[in-house]
């Protein structure tokens, strides 16, 4: 009998050894895979089980914070005291829907889980120390509020940034949403709210300021002008472009006309002031040419995703394919049978004409397949305001520890060299001229130097409606510009070149006023 009892003992040892092996598999070998399994909500519960730091504006307004709750599953929930005002920047932290915006990008910092935060806390293991991080944004609540008020209940976006540093000062899209509805603990209500936001045709969840692209219209002429100054012999006062009402593209294509079939022409300053389509189509297609236009647009940031510190920013687009090379410009301009070896008869020589140079003519005035985010157009203005340099746009300036010391600071860094300082200078002067004497007059603020460029991107003619744009900058008379702005008001009725100036420019003006603390003059009467 004893022999069998010993065998039984060995059998038990074998059984328990197999159990031990399986335990090792679950708790060690495959543990990491189980921990990160999508069905595992423990990481989420852990996040909700601990306090997160606040998110503040640059002027100290709390836009997100944790409050303790009495709930079976979690200990804290997120509240957003400013409601929808920062929803597209800050995002939200939702138990059911996950985290978005800064709440996602800075999740570890807010929760105090980043390495430095944890590492520091090892020293005082036995002290009840708050390791959460406070996120300080570059956005200023006074400017943001001005943007919200000025845009009102019109679909559109406002982006303002400091051209010298890339700090975003305001970023607003209407319609927005109330993140408090998504951070609640009633799962069914949150899912319902999320669904209704998804179903809304105006898509309030989408941060259109950096996640949606629009036809930039005439504001894009700034890029074309920059390319002309940087890569051709065109200067601010010469040559003089012919006064005409139509541009016939080469080698063929539908003619390009001015707004209301008007005629215009003149030097670069003048055609920019009156936003002359025919002149800019000619500049892009016949002076700059495909290579330099694409290069300049890409130097301004088109066709690449801006390094914004909020997830999911999208790239603006400028077409790059113009078909095969046909012949140099002078072959078309002169006699088609002319001797190809003969010297060019045009000041710029032989700009190459491609199969689709007509597309380039349209793209040069911001039509065809050119599409830009409001953030990108603000960066175009910022480059001109900042001697041709585009600083990396960012919305977070600092991560602060609970005791007020700084874990991490995000200073200015260069993203792109768009154009030469000289060209930037010329363009800046030209834009100031537009704001003083041209279409962007309603951006003007007394006591500041303001430059601007309007745009009206036609969407359709029945009924006529268009995006109203303005981009620009402002600064004190004795210093460089301190703010660059882009405003778009979507799908406005009408299609005149005045739309951008009349609809969008006052919004930019309100934002500039708020930035410099200049009150609007009292209405007469």
């Amino acid at each position: 009998m004893n022999r069998r009892i010993r065998s039984l003992g060995i059998a038990f040892i074998v059984l328990y050894t197999v159990l031990f092996a399986q335990l090792n598999r679950v708790q060690f070998v495959q543990a990491e895979a189980y921990r990160t399994n999508a069905a595992n909500i423990r990481p989420l519960l852990r996040e909700f089980g601990q306090e997160r730091g606040d998110i503040l504006t640059a002027d100290g307004v709390v836009v997100a914070s944790s409050v303790p709750v009495d709930d079976g599953q979690v200990d804290f929930r997120r509240v957003y005291p400013t409601g929808d005002r920062y929803a597209h920047v800050v995002g939200f932290q939702s138990f059911n829907q996950g985290a978005f915006g800064l709440e996602r990008e800075f999740n570890d910092r807010l929760a105090g889980a980043a390495f430095e935060q944890q590492f520091e806390s090892v020293k005082d293991l036995f002290r009840d120390r708050d390791t959460t991080g406070t996120i300080v944004m570059t956005l200023r609540d006074d400017i943001q509020q001005a943007a919200v008020a000025a845009l009102g209940e019109r679909n559109g976006s406002v982006v303002a940034l400091d051209p010298r540093t890339g700090e975003v000062l305001a970023m607003w899209t209407y319609p927005s949403f109330d993140p408090n509805r998504l951070s609640g603990l009633d799962g069914a209500a949150v899912n319902e709210a999320y669904r209704s936001l998804l179903d809304d045709p105006d898509d309030p969840l989408l941060a259109k300021s950096f996640r949606e692209v629009f036809f930039p219209g005439s504001t894009f002429k700034l890029v074309t002008a920059a390319a002309a100054l940087d890569t051709t012999s065109i200067g601010p006062e010469s040559p003089v472009f012919p006064t005409t009402d139509v541009y016939e593209p080469l080698p063929s294509g539908s003619p390009i006309r001015n707004f209301g079939n008007s005629t215009c022409g003149g030097d670069l300053r003048e055609v920019l002031r009156v936003s002359c389509n025919t002149a800019f189509a000619e500049i892009g297609a016949e002076w700059v040419g495909p290579d330099a236009m694409v290069r300049t647009a890409e130097n301004f940031g088109f066709n690449s995703t801006p390094p914004l510190d909020i997830p999911n920013a999208v790239a603006s687009r400028f077409p790059t394919d113009y078909g095969a090379y046909l012949a140099d410009l002078d072959v078309y301009r002169g006699d088609h049978d002319a001797d190809p070896e003969a010297p060019s008869i045009l000041p710029n020589g032989g700009t190459p004409i491609h199969e689709n140079s007509a597309i380039l003519a349209q793209a040069s005035i911001g039509q065809n397949d050119v599409k830009a985010t409001p953030l990108q157009m603000a960066l175009v203005a910022a480059a001109i305001a900042n001697e041709g340099l585009i600083m990396a746009p960012h919305v977070v300036s600092e991560v602060r520890a609970a005791d007020g010391s700084s874990y991490e600071e995000f200073g200015p860094s260069l993203w792109r060299v768009a154009i030469s300082p000289t060209s930037a200078d010329v363009l800046r002067e030209a834009m100031i001229n537009v704001a003083e004497n041209g279409t962007a007059r309603r951006m003007q603020v007394d006591g500041l130097v303001v430059g601007g460029k309007t745009g009206t991107a036609q969407l359709g003619s029945d009924p006529p409606n268009s995006h109203a744009w303005v981009v620009g900058f402002a600064g004190p008379p004795d210093g460089p510009p301190e703010i660059a702005v882009a405003v778009i008001v979507e799908a406005q009725p009408g299609a005149s070149e005045q739309t951008g100036g009349s609809v969008a420019a006052p919004i930019a003006q309100a934002v500039i006023r708020a930035a410099f603390g200049i009150d609007a003059p009292a209405e007469p009467g």
Binding site: G9, L19, L23, Y34
Partner: protein, 441 residues
């Protein structure tokens, strides 16, 4: 009797008794410190404060430990010194986990409060058993009474007094008292099987006839009956496994192991085809991910819980083990895995192996077949039950809802396991004092 055994048996009982008790006291002190520290840490982990009732808790626990140790000194002074400390360790860790799962270690949840009462009742049962059973072999004379009683207890939940909870009809409610008679039935059946097989086993060893297969067929029938009528997979598996092991040990016929396995597989397969709840268990064992929100939910949550623990665990009170359903009972092993890690689960494993080793050593040293078989039966009950539930939780075998001995919440289980422990210790004491022992080889 060998020379060594004779010499050991010749030592005066009072002197022989002191050594194991001193060892036991040392182990109990160590375990008291471990359980105390665990309780304090669990409190700190959940609420970051030292519990206000730490004093009363300590007094209660130390009182129970001291009481049971003194009782053993008086009633079974020569008994094996590690059995009781291992049971107290498992009981103590289980209690801390249950209190911690209640969410408020300091205040003590309802379950924790009840479990401390059940621990006292269990220790009462342990001491009473030692007191009332001075000689285990005297129980053999009641074998048919025990056999009938065991079957009766098993069948009791099927009477109108039975209550169905969570799909299994294993509870009996008489007046204010609720209990699981199956927990006691298994002890009665172990005694019955041991007594029955003393003679029958010897017969079958010498000549095997067809009618000798009647008992195993009957046991199989009863076990399938329990599985079908009460939907209690775990107990059915446990009792049948114990019977097959005893048949094998008593008769030396390995065919019983094969026959038992074949019968069990056949019964299991029929149940799988016929009963939805069995099919669900098997399906969620084979592929819990097929239905992660329903039938696979428990096992997936248990896996996440144990994976969360990793090697060293999240720390007591720092994990989130209440995500797993039935964390206080069937899944307490997962809760331990989460907060104490692989280190903790391995410690539980080792504690059970030590219990099994001590139990089998008692079987080896016993001279009479009845005690041998009883020690094997009781040890097998403990060892297999612990294995079934731990292996079920880690998805080594299909999950069956039974308790982890000494650790899980539950009065009936705790009392019956302490009675099992008392019987083993009684036999151990007898071996060391009366000279009724074989020298362990």
């Amino acid at each position: 009797m060998t020379a060594v055994g004779a010499r050991r048996g010749g030592v005066r009982p009072e002197i022989a008794a002191r050594r194991p008790r001193r060892v036991e006291l040392g182990l109990i002190v160590l375990i008291a410190i471990i359980v105390m520290a665990a309780y304090g840490l669990a409190s700190l982990g959940t609420s970051a404060s030292v519990p206000g009732n730490l004093g009363p808790f300590l007094a209660w626990m130390l009182g129970l430990f001291f009481f049971v140790h003194v009782a053993v000194r008086r009633l079974a002074p020569a008994a094996d010194p590690v059995l009781l400390p291992m049971a107290l360790l498992l009981n103590g860790i289980g209690y801390v986990m249950i209190a911690r799962l209640g969410g408020d270690v300091a205040g003590g949840s309802d379950l924790a409060g009840l479990q401390s009462v059940w621990t006292a009742v269990g220790i009462g049962g342990f001491v009473s058993t030692l007191l009332l059973v001075p000689r285990v072999r005297s129980l053999a004379q009641y074998q048919y009474l025990l056999g009938l009683g065991g079957i009766g207890l098993l069948a009791l939940p099927l009477l109108p007094v039975g209550v169905e909870i969570n799909g299994a009809r294993i509870w009996v409610s008489i007046g204010p008292v609720n209990f699981q008679p199956g927990e006691f039935a298994k002890i009665a059946l172990a005694l019955f099987f041991a007594a029955y097989l003393v003679d029958a086993g010897e017969l079958i060893k010498n000549r095997l006839e067809l009618r000798d297969l009647v008992p195993i067929a009957a046991a199989w029938g009863a076990s399938v009956g329990v599985m079908v009528l009460e939907r209690d997979l775990g107990s059915s598996m446990l009792v049948f496994a114990m019977f097959v092991v005893l048949m094998w040990v008593a008769t030396a016929r390995t065919m019983f192991l094969g026959l038992g396995a074949a019968l069990f597989a056949a019964g299991g397969f029929v149940a799988f085809r016929l009963f939805a709840h069995v099919e669900r268990r098997i399906d969620s064992w084979l592929d819990p991910w097929a239905d992660p929100r329903d039938s696979g939910f428990q096992i997936i949550q248990a896996t996440f819980s144990m994976a969360e623990g990793g090697l060293a665990g999240t720390g007591l009170g720092r994990g989130d083990p209440d995500r797993v359903p039935f964390a206080e009972t069937d899944f307490i092993f997962a809760a331990i895995g989460e907060e104490l890690g692989l280190a903790g689960t391995t410690a539980i494993l080792m504690a059970f192996l030590i219990l099994i080793g001590s139990g089998l050593r008692i079987a080896l040293r016993a001279t009479r077949p009845f005690e041998k078989l009883l020690a094997v039966g009781l040890t097998t009950l403990l060892g297999i039950q612990a294995f079934i539930i731990m292996a079920g939780v880690v998805r080594l075998i299909p999950l069956t809802g039974i308790t982890l001995p000494f650790v899980s919440y539950g009065g009936s289980a705790l009392v019956s396991n302490y009675v099992v422990l008392a019987l083993l210790m009684r036999m151990s004491h007898e071996q060391r004092t009366t000279g009724d022992a074989e020298a362990p080889r």
